[in-house]
């Protein structure tokens, strides 16, 4: 006889999902599964649309990282046009991408995960949220809200709209940057850097309290995938793919993103709308890999900006002989990336070419297929389109950052559930930790494919065939 615990919905994440935990006769955890319950259908319903619409349309997969979709989509369209976009346009796309990384990482850290870290994994769920943080740690909450706003306002100032702007277009961007907007952003940068610093200085010693979580929140060997520049520097907008193993040995390097199908394939599991991409040469499911901030820091040789480089050295010291393996450290990596993004924004805005007015290359479609890849806040994002001779989409495939992490998220919640969940005495704090594993990955599930349970915690007794024999619920 087996028991099933259902956590529905998983909260303080971006998207719709639930978790089931299967227990054996003795109440020991056998396996935990993450079920993504939303399905969007973009890969089919974009069929027949003019390819130029794809950036705006696919941005609607996600209101948290629309800029990432705009970029990957516009890059796929650039390749259909077969143009090289003006350098100033590429620089502007980079600035807006960093702005999005800042706001999205701030959201993940401050609004969604800081309640676990500051108020405690076992604190009262009724106040374990950003308003609870604001009541007890007003300064930190204000910093978080301000930092997210800073990123969102860069996006708004550059593109006219915080969410779903239309400024990033096939061939470049639709309008140049004004000197006035540049000054506004530059004026606020010191405060943003100060907040990023302060948060890192608080977080680094604070993680010592979370050793149990660090040890069990998806702490296992896996591959890591990310884009890097040809010289191995971390990269978020363009670059080549690199895969490293848990020793940080390079498995493949300098892989053209347009050849992604040689290395990545997608598997389906019957209990989730989220597919499980895997590293083809290693097969399924052995080809499990992770993407996102943790992967980017494990994959790159350097970050290349002074403040972030120093932080990277300290980060690497967590695991001097290989990759940092615990997914708990996604939080740490995210904070370092905020600092990095701020440094890069400062650098880019300081270059005189950023104000060039030639920001768009015009062309008719010159190819019938295009692939665009960029690093979204949550990891590598792939858009792949085919068009007919009229420029209408005939086929599309999108591999979303969160998808890449699906196998590791599932293995991670199983590891945490085995450590924290006791089937004989189920506590809210234990189940919150299982959810907190998912929060480390900061999944963006509306991208990839939620439930408002009347049953927060439901325990089902099933026979070996999965038939439900008995069920009980607790508030």
């Amino acid at each position: 006889m087996e028991k099933l615990i259902t956590i529905d919905p998983v909260t303080r994440i971006e998207g719709h999902s639930k978790i089931t935990i299967r227990l054996d006769d003795q109440g020991k955890v056998e396996v935990a599964r993450l079920h993504i319950t939303q399905f969007r259908g973009f890969e089919k319903f974009t069929e027949g649309r003019p390819f130029q619409e794809m950036p705006s349309l696919t941005a609607r997969t996600c209101g948290i990282c629309p800029i990432s979709h705009l970029l990957a989509s516009a890059k796929a369209c650039d390749s259909i046009l077969a143009v090289r976009i003006p350098e100033s346009a590429a620089m502007l796309r980079r600035v807006i991408n960093y702005a999005q990384i800042i706001q999205s990482h701030a959201l993940s850290f401050f609004h969604l995960s800081s309640p676990d870290l500051l108020l405690g994994m076992d604190s009262d769920p009724a106040s374990r949220h950003i308003f609870g943080v604001a009541a007890q740690f007003p300064e930190l909450a204000k910093d978080g809200i301000w930092l997210r706003k800073f990123g969102q306002r860069i996006i708004e100032r550059m593109s006219g709209k915080r969410i779903h702007p239309t400024w990033i277009v096939p061939g470049g961007v639709s309008s140049p940057l004004s000197a006035e907007v540049r000054e506004q952003i530059v004026a606020e940068l010191p405060q943003a850097i100060a907040i990023a610093h302060k948060t890192l200085e608080w977080f680094k010693p604070a993680i010592k309290k979370y050793q149990d979580e660090i040890d069990t929140f998806a702490n296992f060997p896996s591959l890591f995938l990310a884009l890097v520049l040809p010289d191995g520097t971390i990269e978020h907008y363009d670059g080549l793919m690199r895969v490293v193993d848990s020793q940080r040995e390079i498995i493949v390097d300098k892989l053209e993103p347009s050849a992604y199908t040689d290395y990545i394939a997608e598997a389906v599991e019957p209990d989730s709308y989220l597919k499980s991409p895997f590293f083809k040469p290693f097969g399924y499911p052995e080809g499990m890999y992770r993407v996102g901030p943790l992967a980017r820091l494990n994959v790159c040789d350097r970050m290349g900006t002074p403040l972030a480089e120093r932080e990277l050295d300290e980060f690497r010291a967590l695991q001097p002989d290989g990759a940092v393996l615990s997914s708990f450290h996604f939080h740490y990596a995210r904070l370092i990336e905020i600092l990095y993004a701020l440094e890069r924004v400062s650098e880019l805005l300081g270059a005189p070419e950023i104000l060039n007015t030639r920001v768009r290359a015009m062309a008719e479609p010159n190819k019938l297929e295009g692939i665009g890849v960029s690093e979204a806040p949550r990891g590598t994002l792939i858009h792949h389109y085919k068009i007919d001779t009229n420029g209408l989409i005939t086929w599309a495939n999108l591999i979303i950052a969160t998808g890449h992490n699906n196998l590791a998220m599932n293995q991670g919640i199983t590891q945490a559930a085995k450590h924290f969940v006791d089937g004989m005495k189920i506590t809210e704090g234990a189940l919150n930790r299982v959810e907190a594993v998912i929060r480390c990955y900061d999944p963006c599930l509306s991208c990839s494919t939620h439930a408002l349970g009347e049953m927060p915690l439901r325990i089902e007794l099933t026979d070996p065939a999965g038939e439900i024999l008995d069920a009980c619920e607790r508030a």
Binding site: T11, E43, K142
Partner: protein, 176 residues
């Protein structure tokens, strides 16, 4: 005065409308002592409570869960706001209505997959034949269009409701 109970619910949307809610920035902290956010993807409540004063709903009704949720939300909410174009018209989720459910699912799980091809059906909600706006299923009290609606519009609407007035959205909200 007791706090006003507010909920936010996310159906088939992109979370952009929730992000626009967060784009109220510091104003969130200003309204925090007047409201109690009793249910939302941003808080840890797992049960949608009884007697909610105002619920903001993002997204269209696309699957069995969405339908179940919106009926439950309606039965437990005094004022229901359809927030954003997906909730108001079905917008982007509705674009799949030109295709059959099977065609949409086949593309993702059979044509664009190489291992274990097949349409997932276990433990997850089934898609409804069409994706529809929420007023097709339940009574909506306030429609706020926009993709997403600007944070100022959400703030003005919530502020008016906190003062016990119905918001005047004329010349403010627009589609897209």
């Amino acid at each position: 005065m007791s706090k006003i109970k507010i909920a936010t619910v996310w159906l088939d949307g992109c979370s952009g409308c929730h992000m626009s809610f967060l784009d109220m920035d510091e104003r969130l902290l200003a309204i925090a002592d007047k409201i109690d956010l009793v249910y939302s993807p941003l808080v840890d409540a797992k049960i949608f409570p009884e007697n909610v004063d105002l619920t903001l709903v993002e997204g269209a009704v696309s699957n069995e869960d969405d339908l179940h949720k919106i009926k439950l939300v309606r039965s437990r909410t005094k004022l229901l706001m359809a927030l954003g174009d997906c909730a108001v018209t079905s917008n982007v989720p509705g674009m799949r209505n030109y295709f059959s459910r099977d065609e949409i699912l086949r593309r993702a799980y059979i044509e664009n997959a190489s291992v274990n091809q097949g349409i997932p059906t276990e433990t997850i909600p089934q898609l409804l034949p069409k994706s529809k706006p929420i007023h097709e299923y339940v009574k909506v009290d306030i429609f706020v269009p926009g993709c997403p609606p600007h944070a100022d519009i959400i703030f003005n609407a919530v502020a008016a409701l906190l003062e016990g007035r119905l918001p005047d959205l004329e010349n403010q909200a627009r589609f897209g």
